[in-house]
Symmetry: D2
Subunit: 370 residues, 4 copies
């Protein structure tokens, strides 16, 4: 349903880049979940442009909780968080000229010219601040029942890092570091180099993220149509820069044989596990107890200051466009906490649907066999 | 919502592989849409195992329309179609032994042992017959308003065919041929060779499909959360064999620069088009008037007769398993009409949400600017 | 969403009065719920025309369970039940002449003439057989966790019975009797007399039902918008004959004062109860632990054989109509098990949303404070 | 889905009585609908306590539109409106003592004591300000396509006004008057007298409202489960004071005969109409072109300053309570614009589902037969 996602736990986004505020309503959370504004602030900080590689637009994310939190805990009623917009420079944008690979033209077709086009309006990455604020409540709540989520940069341009290996440790490492990569290797430098080179060339660069979810019991997801893959992909494809998603081996399954990539089951310490995790923790749409693993393809930021061919859709004329505003040459770093947050929304919703709204309060995740 | 998908036009699946019947309820279709049982039959035929490369299980798909069709037209009320199961051989399956990469174990965890395990039960590919029957009504209805859908085998093992090029012609070609490849080239032979080799080795093989949707006006889809990519991926990931999806360049965006992969807009004959279609017809989650293009990664059929390591989850013991039943060494051919059908469900639903339930009756697709 | 109702537990209806079959898909039920075909048969029997006061149309309700039940238990996947239509006499109906107070004309406006008009089509009371079949699974499942539901005739024409008093005993009495009244008094005779008089006058007669739900813990329902009253009324107003619903005192609140009708709380045996139940067990949309009580206004069956003024909506001419088919002079008896069943659907769905899908398996209803 | 209502056009409420703000998110509205802040202000004014008969709590409703409106028109993206809370006196409330007929105890059971209890929290009538703000956009939008809505006081205590007669004129009369009654008769005085008498007795009084919707084409609504009655009742029962709803004759059908209350169809000026409107404009759940008519039973305000028996649910002790805060002795006047607004939400949503999201922009309501 449009700007609302989730069934038991539902998140509604609102706001435009250059309007008074962006925000989020989170509904369906159990009462009694701790809400720590410092954690929300930290989660927003991870998304915020801050380092040398991001857009010069700086925002404080001075969020307000309007409802649903009382004495530091969720009340069980909808939580509305607003984040005022500041530091907007609307004059950078000229309506009618479609920025290639941006939503300007498709938005015009959908909204008939009534869209708030300033700064990308409702399509701006700015809107993801609401998702990340929601993540600032949901991610710690999941951690309390033993579920952890982490996203890192797997590739950026031609720079390539390692994949998740020891997933729990890797996620713990990610939590402690601002830059979302798995090791203190020179991969960070290579990523920054790729991005800075793109910037110097007035260009932008894409990448691939990898996300893991640990600690989920087997048995979560539906065969038709709400498979775990369906729900995660539904949520993740909300993000404008995501153009592909694969679980486990994903596209590498294509040239594989069953004998090579089927995940053998074994009983270890009385528990059923897989020796490999080529299926990314999901069989037949349902978690199998292994970590969920998925990769997202992120396209290069469409806004580049090189001259590009385009059209003015108001006048139906061909034009050239050179985008002069403040832009990220890559969103691969900033999208990581956003993917964490939308994944947390999906997991919380599916847990609540399966085990009831109080599932987050139970101290431990219910075992499927209880 | 579990086994129902879609909002304005909703499809509910039911059935188990070895129960009395599988089937589908299609709700929300406008009254007055022609229903041609021959077309449904043909669509089912495309999914059916029939050629040398498929499972020896043969089924007539002797479907019955129980409701919602009167005098050859939809009535506007729910259409229930049942497809009786025949030719089932339940003795091939032994409960408790998890077939690797299958849903046996995750289903056991979800359903506590009450699942109808025979023949994969509700997880069986057999259930997709309901989707394809729905496609047999929806695909012709879309064609009447100028929207066409086609899916072909892009890769199978190491055999690789060409991508969509002239999309409309390519789709027309696919309609006329039983084997879903784009040309009368020797690619078909290579695909069959890959599959037969896998069979001879008691193994299975994966692949990649590509799907196109032509004729959609720009402006369809939502920025959050029901982007066109979100809805298509949600639907497609219901299919057990799908482990990845990408739109346009997809994962190839990762190493691309904005200057290389942004799609330049041009006005041609007074109409806004893109010179390239790297975004697969979707900007910011919303169609831009270019054909929608996406690729799906299909994993090798999990069932292979080679011996595999596994467990008996009833006894918590390690076991070896060699799957002796009748199985497809690859589902890449049979999944193509299924992807066509789920794509049709998504497109019909999004059109109906946007333009009202009667959109399919209007002769032409409404222009977004009307 | 149209012909589907419920979120965690969803029921989809299909079928037309004179088509091959009517039926229901029940999705979201936990695995392991016993399914007793005799109980389904008994529930259908309560709805079936059988006594002297009903329509002469006789139907065996020879239902089939196509899916979702295995070895006598729910599997957790969708249950499809079909009920073939028999003994149809289509010639009684003439298309174009609107039966007053029936849906003929409004259906024509909605379905543009494509509707299956025979026997009322999808508007026929026949469709409620699917609801009652669902009730045959859900009602016993609720009883296992201590929740009981009962509906009786409170008024029929000018005959008036007593209201629920000792609710648990009253429901137990209703279970044991075919005719849904609270006592072995002469009220049954009065009801039958009212109905037979109407029949003799070629007329029909309305009535009021009263329903109680016992055994629900306090805390079920939502303040906005899914209050317990909202959900029950939503479900009950699906039934064509229902034109009003009130909870507790309902319309009698209008002339009351707060001091007279507020329900005083008291602690009895350590448990919070109300001394009166004027609010029908619901405060602020949420159950308070007292029995839910509601009354439904049932209009007289529209089909009467007296001559009535009407129109032929195909020719836009005024006509007179005298309806000669087989019809109930009152549906007040037959609607009672239907209201029980839709109430059970609502309660099961709200329990599953609140406590998880396995709530029905827990032996006892979870206490809200657990 | 809890605090969100509607499918194509969805309204999400948030806020607590004594939190920073209450508010609403309205999603799914077409772009290009005029938004007049004066009209929103006027609609809020109708709900506000202002006359001698209401609570002394005075609030300015100084609302802010945070998103979704640009240059005076809807953008097509979610509209968030916040209304700051002012003039709160939290000290009037003591947690643990259940006010009889209020939600205090049921909320405690649902929210385990984490609820923001101050001023009724999320259960406060204050939350309806968000609904009325939404109405301030939706009602004028409906008027532009010829659909008008009006609600008046039919009964208050023993004072009884007349019902709708010439519906269009009556609605026009209501628009022009602040006090929601149908005539400049002495009925207003009787209502005020009833309310003032209740106040003097430290008591409260109930009533009945009547609502009409004019200008809807026939064919709107669903047979199962989303009948027009279902959707309106679902929305209206969100309002805490509503304990009953009936359409047309409603509970008066009970003692009626079909020959007396069936609505005869006639062709007048080439148009099909009913001679009477006992069914309240709805047949089989679908509009028949006559005005929709329904009555709501409103219970007396639970808060009275007379001493009442109750419990402290924290200590499980019996207590006496005398509620000393500022309260309306009757909400019958203030609930009228709220019912108008929730009815507008339902109608807009059902129109958008049927005719597409742009239906509000078409100048005239689409005729069902187009």
């Amino acid at each position: 349903m449009k700007n609302t996602f989730g069934q038991s736990i539902a998140v509604t986004l609102f706001g435009e880049s250059h309007g008074p505020a962006v925000g989020v309503v989170i509904d369906g959370l159990a009462p009694g979940i701790p809400v720590d504004i410092n954690v929300i602030e930290q989660n927003l900080l991870r998304r915020r442009p801050s380092s040398v590689i991001d857009t010069p637009r700086r925002e404080k994310d001075d969020f307000k909780i309007l409802s649903g939190v009382f004495n530091g805990f969720t009340t069980g009623t909808p939580i509305c968080i607003t984040i005022p917009n500041e530091n907007t420079k609307s004059s950078d944008y000229h309506y009618g000229v479609a920025r290639p690979s941006h939503a300007d033209y498709s938005a015009f077709c959908k909204y008939h010219g009534y869209e708030d086009y300033r700064g990308g309006g409702h399509f701006s990455g700015r809107i993801t601040a609401g998702l990340v604020a929601a993540g600032g409540i949901l991610i710690p709540a999941l951690e309390k029942i033993g579920v952890t989520i982490g996203t890192h940069i797997l590739k950026c341009g031609i720079a390539e890092g390692r994949a998740f290996n020891n997933v729990e440790e890797d996620i713990a490492f990610l939590k402690k570091n601002e830059f979302p990569i798995l090791d203190n290797s020179d991969f960070a430098k290579k990523v920054i180099s790729q991005i800075n080179t793109a910037r110097e060339q007035n260009d932008s660069i894409g990448g691939i993220t990898q996300t893991a979810v640990c600690g989920l019991a087997p048995g979560l997801g539906e065969p038709w149509f709400d498979s775990m893959e369906s729900m995660i992909s539904h949520a993740v494809f909300s993000l404008g820069g995501v153009k592909g998603i694969e679980f486990g081996l994903g596209f590498s399954f294509a040239a594989s044989k069953g004998s090579e990539c089927n995940d053998p089951f074994r009983v270890i310490d009385g528990k059923v596990v897989c020796e490999t995790n080529n299926n990314g923790g999901i069989n037949g749409g349902i978690t199998n107890g292994m970590p969920i693993l998925f990769q997202c393809a992120i396209k290069p930021t469409p806004s580049i200051s090189q001259e590009q061919k385009s059209v003015n859709f108001c006048t139906s004329e061909n034009v050239d466009i050179s985008i002069s505003g403040r832009h990220d040459p890559a969103i691969i770093r900033r999208i990581c906490p956003v993917i964490d947050s939308v994944t947390a929304i999906v997991i919380c919703d599916m847990l609540a649907q399966r085990y009831g709204t109080d599932v987050m309060l139970k101290g431990v995740l219910p075992c499927n066999m209880d």
